[in-house]
Amino acid sequence: MLEVDGLSVSYGGVTALDGVSLRIPDDGITAVLGPNGAGKSTLIRAIAGLVRPRAGTVSYGGRLLNGMSPEAIVRIGISMVPEGGGIIREFTVDENLRLAHLWRRDRADLRKALDEVMALFPLLAARRHLPANSLSGGERQMLAVGRALMSRAQLLLLDEPSLGLAPKVISLIMRTIHELSARRGLSVLLVEQNARSALSIANEAVLLSSGRTVASRRAGELAHEEELWHAYLGY
């Protein structure tokens, strides 16, 4: 269980996150929705250790994450996929994947982890030794998710995986995330502006606006609350 309690983050006096609390169970998908500037990315970045909170706590399995570096947080089983995937363009697909496993220092497991990702994304297997910048947007997102799995994380933090992708590719990505969560028992925190896609696979949903939690519901319930949609998501 990931527990976020009263988390506040400011960037040079501007408050991006203002006392947000939420619980992410050890399985299932939790969608964090909200308009641009609601603080979704800040929330995910604070959990991953990339930004320091001004107040509040983040803990995972009872362990306090405040003050831990991103490289330490990945070692306790939380892996973040930044917006756009954050693949290293100068590297090949294979190098991108290997890099995420290096800290485990386990060559036998590296081979196994690579095989698992290749089986999950056969498209990547075919492009394994090509430079990552030759991939399409959808392939990059798959590489990013596959790379997050290389660290054998139990909790995936995904920042807008649908951004800039065609509708067909978005549904493929969402289906993949859903399968990963269902089959491998992974817990996923899915930050999305594309609320419909996210709610189609999420179990729980949290709606953020101006750095505060506006609603926290079962995903199926939020999907039918028209006032909230009109007010915050602009549909």
Binding site: S69, S79, W103
Partner: protein, 292 residues
Amino acid sequence: MNYFFVLTLTGVAAGMIYAALAMALVLVWRATRVVNFAQGAMAMTTTYIALAVIQLTGNYWFGFIAALAAGLVLGAVAERGIVRWVENGPPLNAVILTLGLLLILEAVVPMIWGAQIRSFPAPFSISAVQVGAAFIPVSPFNLFTVGVVLLVMVALLVLFRFTGLGLSMRAAAFAPEIARLLGVRVGRLLTFGWGLATMAGALAGLLVAPSLLLYPNNMDAILVYGFTAAVLGGLDSPIGALVGGLAMGLALSFIGGYLGPDLETAGALAILIAILMVRPQGLFVHAAERRV
């Protein structure tokens, strides 16, 4: 023709030394996007340490190893102790600090060892080889210079291309934030990168001293040559550093040989200005912006 041949060979030998220093500058640049103006002074310092160890033990190789080890430590300390504190500030801050380090080293070294010009031993003869009646304008030390720099270049290439450590170091250089999210301990690798760079610089210092002698600013001109070589190679490319170093060695050898040795430094600066005007990204870098 024979004179041209001589100038070519001496140019190659000198070029390998510039390549070693250029390599040091490239490694630092790749790791932290800082031009380390103290690179020459750090190499001078490690060469003094080598001389002290050689005088103490009577064995050149102990001094050689001591210089490389001292380079590793000095580079790591400079990164951790100085550059780390300004890594989030404007890039100029770090550059000014390396200039400060240059001044400190060039002031502290003569306080410890004196400012007089000293001779520095070479492990092999520095005079030309005689085959029958003919002199070949290459000394055994020249061959050693070329060999040892090539060896270091190959070792670095293997490190960066074929090892997990090298992969992590490249990731830390190209995309530090992403690397951290993937569990790479970026801070440690930057420290190691500076250490490795200063080790390459220490090698250049050891190879310069037998012919150019050792004194507190004996590396100043070599830094200019090495920097020009690094820029020629694109500042980002280890192979570029090697080719740039060789090109500088040859160019300066021809300038010195045909136009007069006084013009060598001016020639280096003219080459530097010409590169920056014609091809500022260097010859070996595919123009790529740095992303975070």
